[in-house]
Symmetry: D3
Subunit: 225 residues, 6 copies
């Protein structure tokens, strides 16, 4: 029977907030290239960038009832992560639900399905990553789970995990690894800052990373036209 799990353990908000401003690609690299959602998850307006803690909700196809149930489980700093139990692009979410979530301090929605009221959501600055935009409405007939682990766009999400999302997509950081991954992300950013300066000055990656010998060893040759 479907269940709503209350009082989930969340990654610490201080750690979560550390991810704000760090790119999804950096986080994905920092945790060993894991946790990335499929590339069909796109922001509905450009330049959105958030980090928050996952509240998860399963959605029966064409039925958004459980989003209302999940809303009650959301608190400041959360991101709602919604996955249909069967692929469906219906418009499960619009500006009324966003108003409700925003009033609770929810930072955004990640939904492997459709979203509507895009213009209003952009104006509200409520960020959504979705698989589709669709005005198609939903019913409220079937119950499903809230705050159980689920797979969204090919990534496993546990309630309370950290979600980081930007123009590049969405990545999931397991709750217990959040602090470690944050540190590694920052280390990576620091290292990239140095590389960036050298590249900007005209040095080549070939030289910075010492690739020339390895390339030759692999059989690459240079010739003139």
């Amino acid at each position: 029977m479907p269940v709503v799990v209350q009082n989930i353990s969340r990654a610490e908000l201080e750690v979560v907030n550390g991810f704000v401003g760090i790119g999804v690609a950096t986080v994905h690299e920092a945790q060993g290239r894991t946790g990335l959602m499929a590339s069909h998850m796109r922001p509905i307006w450009p330049r959105a960038r958030v980090a928050g803690t996952a509240v998860t909700v399963e959605l029966p196809p064409g039925d958004n009832w459980m989003i209302h149930v999940a809303a009650e489980q959301c608190q400041e700093g959360d991101i709602l992560v919604a996955a249909p139990t069967s692929p469906c692009d219906t418009g499960y979410f619009g500006e009324l639900l966003a108003t409700s979530l925003a009033s609770r301090g929810v930072r955004g929605l990640v939904i492997e399905a459709g979203c509507r009221d895009v213009a209003e959501l952009a104006e509200m600055k409520f960020p959504v990553w979705s698989k589709a935009v669709s005005a198609q409405g939903t019913v409220k007939e079937t119950v499903a789970n809230v705050n159980v682990p689920l797979i969204c766009a090919g990534a496993l999400v546990h309630p309370g995990d950290v979600i980081v999302a930007d123009d590049d997509g969405v990545v999931v950081v397991p709750r217990k690894k959040a602090e470690e991954v944050l540190q590694k992300s920052k280390d990576r950013e620091a290292k990239e800052e140095k590389t960036r300066a050298r590249l900007k000055a005209g040095e080549l990656g070939l030289d910075i990373y010492g690739f020339r010998d390895k390339l030759k060893a692999k059989g690459l040759t240079w010739t003139d036209d």
Copy 2:
């Protein structure tokens, strides 16, 4: 034999204009969730929002001749609705045709195919909803029907019907139902305004809509982590 139907009956412009500013999702709901085009119909520039009367045109694949024919049938307040007779993403429409349509007071184009000159169309503020963007050119060889009922992106469109389009997609309102649907759309907006205020104040949909008992009756249970 292909035919161009002239002097079609159109929804009254005063009614049509009432739809400007009302969202596609609202109109779709107000008319019982009918008339929505498929979600692959996307605006070529964000925040476009129009309502107008349909002039319909069938397009042979890779052939945009009939758009020129349809242009003559267009008048102030119209939206051209174009559907290829066989799926094809060629760029049937660009800024020259938009200039022609705009000079006649046409408010936009809905085409289940490709569009080109996107930068110029965005600068002109000529809105287009299309299935693809493609620079690929077309020929002018084959005739087809203008102002006959057709299916565009899965929706049945009769000439003179109301077309409403925004970031969420495109919806068709049958001409004879336009006034009724407009009223229902406005009623819906008024009702949503009240709900929005309550949600913004932190009330939950669960309570506003009285969902709790129904959820329990369906077997949903709440538990702690």
Copy 3:
């Protein structure tokens, strides 16, 4: 064995620069509707518009090593054209590589695969046309060819060819035809300017192009509703 071809012949930069500001659709028409890449090649930020000379690079799936190799072959005015040897949407390219390319005067990237760091690339104004956006990282293990002819998004590209790209997509102009195609593109623009003025004034394409008789000869008839 894979080879890096150096000192390729490029279209003259003066000619190449003539293409800046001319639309992809115009160039495609001017050269007889050839050389257009598939419509899944989309700009990662709107209104980007470039012309440059092609440096080509083959990419093994999920492996961006050769982009570093290709960078060394790039010079002022170039556009890097990258095609995976097997379809793959991995994020081969981000802002570090863009910094490197930009420092060498490279004008953009055309890649039939994934790109990441979209927000940063948009801020840098480094234009990219890609098939996907993906934060997924790559390895550096396998060598492949640089500056050999390749097929990118269905178009044949020789090193040194002219690449023109805008919101409508990407078109390839063979190096030896660049001057001729530029002239024809300008002629076409001039001609369109005149047509545009007539259309804006309300004349119909039907009359400007003299279509009426041909349409009737094909069997098209006009009727009243």
Copy 4:
């Protein structure tokens, strides 16, 4: 409110049976290239070939309740035509429902969604044209219309229309045109039989259809390598 229309008018079974064995492509041509469903409608087992009268049913996403309702409206010679109200590939139909339909003389199913129990349906020789194969189950919660006109895979279907389906796809023949289209289909087959014999004997379409002059007039030229 949703309605089940009973006692619909059907095309005459004698006429319908005349379509058995005539190809979908032939019927589509014979009625002026109209009524064809989208090419994503594929048979779940090869060489199935049927003609029957349409009973139509709307399906809420992920909900197959109405198929049970529609079953009661079916009789000898019918084909059930099912379209979800929002795109959804769930497996709405399997061998139990097929057993029920077959017991009533239903000849097949056309569904723009998912089907399951493919092996069993193939063994039963119950033909299905669907958009997907999926084992995913459905709920029984939401009511919808039976025997109202609907759009299935881009084609408008009225209850009682003739449905013809084979390896090439599915075509709809309006009930009132069935007799005329059948005659034209047979005429076309007779004509093609003659052409086939000439082509088999080595004559060229160029000569049989007299294309050479027209091709030259269009500017085609022949040259040696």
Copy 5:
């Protein structure tokens, strides 16, 4: 660092063999509609039907080295489950690898990527469920994990889980639930056998399941044409 986990715990072969001949749809229902892979996983030849224990392998894009590593971990009764770390349709698997796996008693392959040598595999009766067929070859450069939990086509697979696959797709049964799910599957089959007999005799699902009152309560009405 990547790891190969040896000596995994597997579901008991006796239980696993009980699933042979039970349909994927039945198993999916019996375990509460969980564990189903996405519907793009299709058998490369029809009527294949297997049950076995999962050995899991991650595949870098375009690199099939780890299949060789995984082969050593396979034993009688296993099914190899392979997922690329980044979406890629390359042909990772052909008849040589199948020969190797078959010699170890492996019952089939489930791969969310491409497969080749389809004709040979069909002749060998080696079953494969894949996302694509592609002759494109792979490299052997990058290591990855074997026998760790992974997500394949949207389903979470642990090493040793039961995999059941047929024409309808692929379902995963968690190792520890295998016996329970098998029993429920058989119960379901027994129950369906009775329903099937009634449906075959012409009884309607409407009556067998007692739907009429519920449908009326939902507002469904019956009317004559």
Copy 6:
């Protein structure tokens, strides 16, 4: 202006016939993994397997006129390779055209578009590799090139090249390399025959290819569960 090139140079038929029975994957490997068409090119009936010389034809979207023109250029041993100038899935080809081509000794069709009359073509044993099956008809209005180099499904094809196709897809062998590639394909087959015997006997690829040390050097480790 469009041109029909006559009397093209073809690969020698004796060499071409040597490819019959050699798999597409083998040929693709033997020529350095080049020349493979995209994996969306699928046979319309299973187990078809051909080799022949390419006659190439460009197709305007929705227009199959040039297939008739190309037919005259075909001779014993040819395979017709057809690519639309703009993506289009219309059914350009059916059994009448197949009858014509077969009467001239043509061995099959490769078309990056739609095909119809699938049942009839399967019965005739006329093999077709296509991107889609569609009953949708075409017009005969626009001329295009025959026997010029073209890109079909991402592969460059010159008239007279060798085409090899089977269940795995389609590969192009340049005319001048045909003999060399045939020899390499046979060498590869001979080598694989030996490997197959060892794999069948239970030896592992890990040992046959000596992978163990390289895997360890890359950091792969083995552990117990």
